[in-house]
Amino acid sequence: MSKRTPIYPRHESAGARLVDFGGWQMPLHYGSQMDEHHAVRRHAGVFDVSHMTVVDLAGDGARDFLRSLLANDVDKLRQPGRGLYGCMLNYKGGVIDDLIVYRTGQSAYRMVVNAATRDKDLAWIERHAAPLDVTVDERAEAIMLAVQGPKAMELAAPLLPSGLEQSAAALRNFACCEQDGWFVARTGYTGESGWELIIDDARAGLDFWDALLAAGVQPCGLGARDTLRLEAGLSLYGQDLDEDHSPLVSGLTWTVAWEPAERNFIGRAAIQSEQSAGPRLTLAGLLLEDRGIMRHGQRVFTAAGEGVVTSGGFAPTLGRSIALARVPADAAGHCEVEIRNAHRRATLVKPAFVRNGQVLVDLDS
C-alpha cells in the first residue's frame, strides 16, 4: 500500500494521473504536463512535495555532526535563516544523497532529503548521530509545497499568515524564515524563483493549497517537475547521482567545501585523492541536434571517449531533446548519442539550459 500525502484528496478530486514514486502515490500531471511546465516558466505553479523527507537536528553536537556528515560545510551558515545545498557521502566518496540543510537556530538545523532514499538516509544519519549530543526528528506529518515561477511569490505572499508575508518576501536565495509552524525557504527545483514551504498543520496546508489554486497558481505534477529541473540542469538522485559516483564526477564539485583542510567529513579521504589525481569524468549537458529524444542509459560517444546519458528527455521550453550525461572530463564540442540503434548528433554544453525563463544555450550551434 503506497503512502499518500495530506494533499492527496485534492489530487484525486482534480483527476490527476497518479504514479508510485518512492512508495508514495503522487500526481504525475493534472491533465497536461506541458501546460504545467510552461505555467511555471511563464507564471506560477505549485507542487505537492510532501513525500520528501524533512529531518530536524538539534543539540550541542548538531554543528559538529553535520560538519562530519556533509561534504559541504554548515559553518558557511553564519546565522540562523540560511541554507545550503550539498551531498552526504559514503566512505568511498559516493553520494548517499543530495540535500538542502537550513540553520534554523543557534544549534538547530533542518535537512530536506529525497523521498526515495529516506530509509537508508535515516539509518545512516541515526547511526552517525548516536554517539553525539544531537537529536534526530523526522517530520513525517508535515506538508511540503513548492511554489515556483516568475509570479509565484507575488501570488503566494498575501496567502501567508500575517507577519510571515514580509519576512518571506525579503528572503534571499537559500534563506529561510519561520513563524507559527510555517517554514518558508527561497529554494526550488525548477530554475525559476519561488519558495518551498513546510507547513506543520495539515488543515493549514490544505487551505493554502486551495487558496493558491484560487489565485490562479497551476497545480503541477512530478512530470513537469522533472522536465523543469532537467532544463535547469539540476541533478536527480538515482539518475545523475548515486553511491558509485562522487560529487566530483557529478557536476557537484562546487558543493564540496575543501577548506578548512582539517574538517574531516565522511568521504573526504576518497574524494581528496580523486581530486588530486584529476577526476576522469564530469557531468555535461547535451543538446540534441538531430531529431529524437535522449533517454537515461543511452551511450554517448565523444572525441575523448565514451559516456552515458544520466537524464534525458524533451525540453518543452526549447522544443527539443536535452540531457545530462556523464562523459570524460575533457570531452567538448560535438558528440553522438546512440538512440534506439542510431547515432544522433549532439552538442556538449554547460548543464544549465534554462534559468528564470531565459534560454541559456545556443540552439543554432
Binding site: 494521473r17 500531471h29 504536463q33 506541458m34 522536465t227 529524444i293 533517454r295 528527455g313 524533451f314 534506439r340
Partner: protein, 131 residues
C-alpha cells in the same frame, strides 16, 4: 472510457487499422494508447516505399515519459506517412483516429485484416486488461 470507433480493426498492441477504398490500410495508435503514453513529443516514421513484415517496427512514438514501438500489424509496403507529425506530434493525442494517423500501407495480404480485433473485441480486451 476511451474512444473505440466501430468501423476500425484493432490489435492487442493498441493499434488501429482502417481499410481504404483503394485497398490500402491506414494505421495509427488507439485513444487508449495515446492516453497511456501521455503527451507525445516525437514521432519517428518509416521511409515511404520501405517493405515491412508483420511485427516489424513501423513507427516509434515518444511521449514526455517514454519511447514506444508501433509494430506493423500486416506485411506490406509503406505508401505514405503522416508528415504533419514531425512538427505536431500532439496531433496523435488530440485526434488519434484522424489527423493523428501514422502510416498508410499497401498490404501484401489484406486477408490478415479479418483476423484482427473488431471494435467490440477490442473494447472487451481493454476491459479485461483493466481488471
Amino acid at each position: 472510457m476511451s474512444d473505440v470507433p466501430e468501423n476500425l480493426r484493432y490489435t492487442s498492441d493498441h493499434e488501429w487499422l482502417r481499410l481504404e477504398d483503394d485497398g490500402s490500410v491506414t494505421v495509427g495508435i488507439t485513444d487508449h494508447a495515446q492516453e497511456a503514453l501521455g503527451e507525445l513529443v516525437y514521432v519517428e516514421l518509416p521511409e515511404s516505399g520501405s517493405d515491412l513484415g508483420a511485427g516489424d517496427t513501423c513507427a516509434v512514438v515518444e511521449s514526455v515519459k517514454a519511447a514506444s514501438d508501433v509494430y506493423s500489424p500486416l506485411p506490406g509496403t509503406v505508401m505514405a506517412t503522416n508528415e504533419s507529425l514531425a512538427e505536431q506530434p500532439e496531433l496523435v493525442n488530440g485526434n488519434p483516429y484522424g489527423e493523428g494517423w501514422l502510416v498508410r500501407l499497401q498490404p501484401t495480404d489484406s486477408s490478415a485484416l479479418e483476423s484482427l480485433l473488431n471494435a467490440e473485441a477490442y473494447t472487451r480486451f481493454l476491459a479485461e486488461a483493466e481488471d
